[in-house]
Amino acid sequence: MCGIAGLFAKSDRIAEELGAHLEAMLVQLNDRGPDSAGVAFYRDPVPSGGSKLSLQHPDEAYPWDALAADAAEALGAHADIEQRANHCVVRLDVAADVAEEWVARAHPEVRVMSAGTVIEIYKEVGLPTAFAERFRLSELSGSHALGHTRMATESRVTTDGSHPFSTGLDLCLVHNGSLSNHNRVRKDLAREGIVFRTENDSEVAAGYLMWRMREGATLDQALEGCLEDLDGFYTFAVGTADGFAVLRDPIACKPAVLAETDDWVAMASEYRAIATLPDADRARIWEPEPATVYSWDRVPA
């Protein structure tokens, strides 16, 4: 089954309270995905030339300050850390690809959940309600965020199998549905050098987007490619540095509702998640058409 929630703030008030609103949406989607939960927040951009990594280690007592000190020494970079349960966001004044490559080499015991200048990903197994509390989502502000509640069908319930999946710098994917040709596509992508951590079908969709964009496609083009190359059922929501995009497969069995007010744009698997938002009863509400890419961007002020 699975549940998806996305929220894009159009007003400062919603941006300030983004985490509390996304939490309320996720809690409504508890029973669509009780196995695990995850979120991507777009917030608190690092200064130009810097980067931000979301790292995870199963042990909450992992010495993140030691990792930061290591980074400072090895990269000659200043490193700030902010721990949230068993995840830690590390801000560095080197480029994201340099930082990511260093962590993978020097600290292979740590998983890189996301890399970029603005994205933060947190995800873990367990009930969405418990996840939201453990990761203190209600404290987070930001310009936009995506969330996912997972009911596993295609692969094991693990942290790595949870959504969102990173699909490149400041990009992520959440998926409701199941892909039927993911094994073949995974093999094809592996030959192109895309690395997979799990047997999960959604990770293949994320890898597919990563590969298409690496080869020069825009996000919209990469999503349109999904219609040709991915078999199965899907509602995808993709987070970008400036906004998010939504795509449903041509059969459109998996639900999606979009809604907009002067203060926010929201996307969810069901209206009851949107109903938690301020003035939801006065929102413009519609169902996205099958096989059509919808996207929202933050227009620079």
Binding site: A252, C253, E270, D281, I285, E287
Partner: protein
């Protein structure tokens, strides 16, 4: 009208559990003097609102409903003042279910009787496997509507999506706007006087009597699929 007939039972789902509402509605079945008028506040997209009602009562849902609203309805007149989610009035037996906004997929799936009125749009698979109910959509319907519809009538004042009436049996479809594509074995048929008469009645019942039945096209089964060949009758 007596004072009793005008009494309204108001149930606020912000403070009352959904099961309690549905139980109270079910308890009206078979009563000589059921509570005739019900008003449901703060539905907030809850699932299975007013499912399985079997009494001649009126229920107004004041807001958006979630999945399977008014499923299996018998006798009741249920109005959603807002949008409704997947599977509106699934397997309705009788009565009227009206939505002032739009509905998600599979509205009126397997409807056996009664009338479903959608004043906005209905999305994919509206009237899938229709089995005798009537559906009137003031707006448009999505792809694969009336898929394998067996009997009953579907009226669309707007447009129909792709694969309309795929593998249709004996249900009748009327569309005023454009049809993106017809499904397997679904064809346009002549609109005769008996159909104009039937359409006029359905449009009036659905509060769309301003529409001219002559503006509609009729679609139905070409009866060319395997199931319609007499040589295959022994297989059933």
């Amino acid at each position: 009208m007596s004072a009793t007939a005008e009494r309204v039972q108001t149930v606020d789902l912000a403070s009352t559990p959904l099961r309690e509402l549905n139980q109270r509605l079910h308890d009206q079945a078979g009563l000589d003097e059921p509570e005739r008028h019900w008003r449901v506040l703060n539905p907030s997209g809850a699932h299975a609102l007013a499912c399985g009602v079997d009494a001649p009562i009126e229920i107004d849902i004041m807001g958006h409903a979630g999945y399977y609203c008014a499923g299996m309805n018998k006798q009741a007149t249920i109005t959603v003042h807002g949008n409704a989610g997947v599977g509106l009035a699934e397997n309705i037996m009788s009565g009227v279910v009206r939505v002032t906004g739009s509905t998600s997929q599979a509205a009126g799936a397997t409807a056996r009787g009664g009338l479903i009125v959608v004043e906005g749009d209905a999305s994919a698979r509206c009237g899938i496997s229709l089995k005798g109910g009537d559906i009137v959509v003031h707006g448009s319907v999505g792809h694969m509507s009336a898929f394998m519809a067996q009997t009953g009538r579907m009226v669309v004042l707007g447009d129909a999506g792709d694969a309309l009436g795929d593998s249709i049996y004996e249900a009748r479809i009327y569309v005023r706007g454009s049809v993106k594509g017809l499904g397997a074995d679904c064809v346009e048929k002549e609109l005769r006087d008996e159909h104009r008469q039937e359409l006029a009645e359905l449009l009036a019942a659905a509060g769309a009597d301003g529409a001219d039945p002559g503006d509609f096209r009729r679609y139905g089964s070409a009866r060319n699929l395997y199931t319609f060949h007499i040589d295959n009758a022994g297989s059933y």
